[in-house]
Symmetry: C2
């Protein structure tokens, strides 16, 4: 039953694409996959199977004596040998005329997927099956493809992938609640000899020394927040991409961010055409045009103070926000961000130079004394896609800020010392990977972009 | 200070390699990096800086009036503009004659690296600095490169990267101790509504349903073991690669494993020549020949029972093992594995078809009733590099085995049901990524292959 080195269904569609499919006309080929659809009229049967190599199935045509094909119920796996026929006039560009078939894996009454449309909510309770539905089959293929191109992009640009730790004893001031970790909860400090071991909320602090040595680095791994939020955008476990590079200021950071995002979205759309067609048809009709704009139009760069002015003018002109007391220092809500991206700029914007009091301690202090070199990338429908900044590279400025914020300085001395010894200007951003998956697929719940979502009150297996 | 779009030191070495470096003769170029070495004679100075793009530094030649270069102490960062001169007769193939220099980041007395050789043990206590030493600079570049080619290999072969969860409530029978996770230790079940949430020890069970849908998938992410072992080969947090593919039997698995490992080792050696030269010179003189054999010679395939016979014969012929009562059922120790790989087969071997009682419940039961379709890849010096198996695809056989082992069946019902609905033969293996880094670099302590090692009694930041 060795199917390696044989054609996949994707290979056939690729050969349609590059117009070489006719080479396979009449060839005897073997495919294995699970049943998507099966109709038998009494004289002829049509069995659609998916081998996982691409979104679209292969149509198998079989005769009345083919017991294996006849028996293939939804979800059952079959292996079918047959003759390939190119059918340029038909709905599907080729079909396999079965000559010999085996029912490899039958299904029984415990198989939970039916032809009828099933709710996403129910499907979340069966993460071991939902990737066999059209929607999730496409989502996880796109997720994997995006993830691959993230690595490809950075590799081509000379960035090293650094595996920052998941377990950390470092404080993560201002990043929300963390999960605690114990080898033995009765002897909490015994295993690591540390008071406080938790799951990382960001690899940034740990990756900065690597950026100061290798110049260009990034992390791509799981991060954790123990927030009791039950929104469609928050998960307790999610993946983050955090590039960090030296000799880079805020505008370099924006350049990288834009180039990077456009690259991975473009490459993924090219690779996952069938999946993207499905999303456009069934999930979000506006997706293709939104993504066209995303990859084609330059992202605008807007200063926070400019944005405040625009929002104040909107209020003056009668626009209603829930929070309408708009002034310098306001931490913009999603209603404000959406107004800016959807109503005013009609596309993604880099919002830069935020008030220092609403941003993290490590961000570069601007000369005005009240803003920092921070940048959030805001995207229509999605909201904040990335957050980043130039980092404060000056030891004394950073120390003073940490003292103002009453941080535990000794715990951060290792990080501070990076500014004492060979300090270089450097910048970085964090991308919540699932937000990118949502952007590209049009799915609007983070739970539907994660293979096994871990959210507040929500964990299977 | 924008150095993007400019030449890196790696670019220069690449141009030496492809013999186009002379194009840059006399060109004015700018480089930024940290100081590796600086000698000033009174009339002329030689400053070596590393920009992180490759292992080898750039030699800068400067005059007595260049205060910035003169002041550059070990670890200090400088930015230097100068004229490039190709020096085919000299030790280094080019040098930069400085025309204008800036000391960007000075060092002070807290900088912990000195010219003299420092112990690995001490360097483990300063993970934020040790990547600036030659050894660790090379190790982490090689680590990143290996990691990239793992993704490239699987992407090219049509495998999807699946992000299996870190947090899991699933039992992981027989995989050793786990770390428990709490949002609030006083209300242990509150956050996830689960009795028992811990850090994953393997993504295999979670990735299998994806293999049964997509055909070819893999995981690559952190895994955890709360074992109180203080060896040079165990870490509490380490990265695992776990490919899983359908329609595959044990021999297909061995084929994939061998092809995969040879590919990533070969590509990494090509990309990291300077680093590999360093390891061969300073870490392990036998490394190049060992790796040559690794990528060139086919791995032998040996059945467990054959290996037992060989070991029994060795004992008869006077060879001394610490455990010399060798018979079917013995869980081979590293002395036995080393004897087989280093003395008998003189290279990596696939050891297959182990007794079922020393292997995991999910492995395919062979017809003999006493062995399973398991395979360990054993490598000289390293020991076990990968462990894998064909999985039991038959519902009743798997259930019976789980009952024999008195496992908690309801907790695994979701996994069992995969065998009821569209079951397909499938196989997979797990590679401890750090073991691969050790194999390729010649480093012999796992702590020296992890950016921030987390081991028993051992965690910085």
């Amino acid at each position: 039953m060795d199917l390696t080195e044989k054609y996949t269904i994707k290979d056939l569609f690729d050969k349609v694409e590059d117009k070489t499919i006719s080479e396979l006309e009449g060839k005897e080929l073997t495919f294995g996959g699970y049943t998507k659809n099966n109709r038998f009229s009494g004289t002829i049967g049509f069995l659609n199977i998916n081998d996982g190599s691409c979104f679209l199935p292969l149509q198998i045509v079989y005769g009345p004596s083919d017991e294996a094909c006849k028996a293939a119920k939804l979800g059952a796996t079959v292996e079918v040998k047959g003759t390939l026929h190119v059918t340029p006039e038909a709905k599907q560009p080729f079909e396999l005329h079965a000559t010999s078939s085996t029912l490899v894996g039958d299904v029984d009454e415990t198989y939970p997927l039916q032809k009828k449309k099933t709710s996403y909510e129910y499907l979340r309770s069966i993460p071991q099956w939902r990737m066999k539905t059209n929607t999730f089959n496409a989502v996880f293929r796109v997720r994997s493809t995006l993830a691959y191109y993230i690595h490809e992009y950075f590799h081509k640009k000379g960035f090293l992938w650094i595996h920052t730790p998941i377990l950390t004893s470092n404080d993560c001031e201002g990043e929300g609640q963390t999960f605690d970790v114990y080898a033995d909860v009765k002897k909490p400090t015994e295993f690591f000899n540390k008071e406080n071991v938790h799951l990382t909320v960001s690899g940034q602090l740990h990756v900065e020394p690597f950026a100061l040595t290798y110049g260009k680095v990034y992390t791509f791994g799981p991060t954790f927040r123990a927030e009791k939020s039950n929104t469609t955008r928050h998960a307790a476990e999610f993946w983050m991409v955090e590039p960090e590079f030296a000799w880079a200021h805020l505008s370099d950071l924006c350049d990288l961010e834009e180039d990077f995002l456009k690259y991975v979205v473009k490459k993924t759309r090219e690779d996952c055409k069938q999946d993207m067609d499905f999303f456009a048809k069934w999930i979000d009709k506006d997706l293709p045009s939104r993504l066209d704009e995303f990859v084609e139009k330059p992202f605008k760069r807007v200063k926070y103070e400019e944005a405040i002015q625009i929002l104040q003018d909107a209020v003056k002109n009668g626009h209603k926000f829930e929070v309408s007391d708009i002034k310098f220092g306001l931490d913009l809500g999603s209603e404000h961000e959406r107004y800016l991206t959807e109503q005013v700029f009609k596309g993604p914007i880099f919002l830069t130079d935020y008030p220092k009091d609403i941003k993290a301690f490590y961000m570069k202090q601007n000369d005005d004394g009240r803003t920092v070199g921070a940048v959030d990338l805001l995207v229509p429908e999605i909201g904040e896609l990335c957050g980043g900044s130039e980092r404060e590279a000056d030891y004394n400025k950073l120390l003073t800020r940490m003292q103002e914020l009453k941080m535990n300085i000794p715990a951060y001395q290792w990080y501070l010392d990076l500014r004492k010894n060979g300090s270089i200007p450097h910048s970085g951003f964090g991308l919540g990977f699932e937000r990118l998956v949502m952007l590209v697929t049009g799915m609007d719940n983070i739970r539907d972009t994660l293979p096994y979502p871990r959210c507040y009150k929500d964990m299977e297996f």
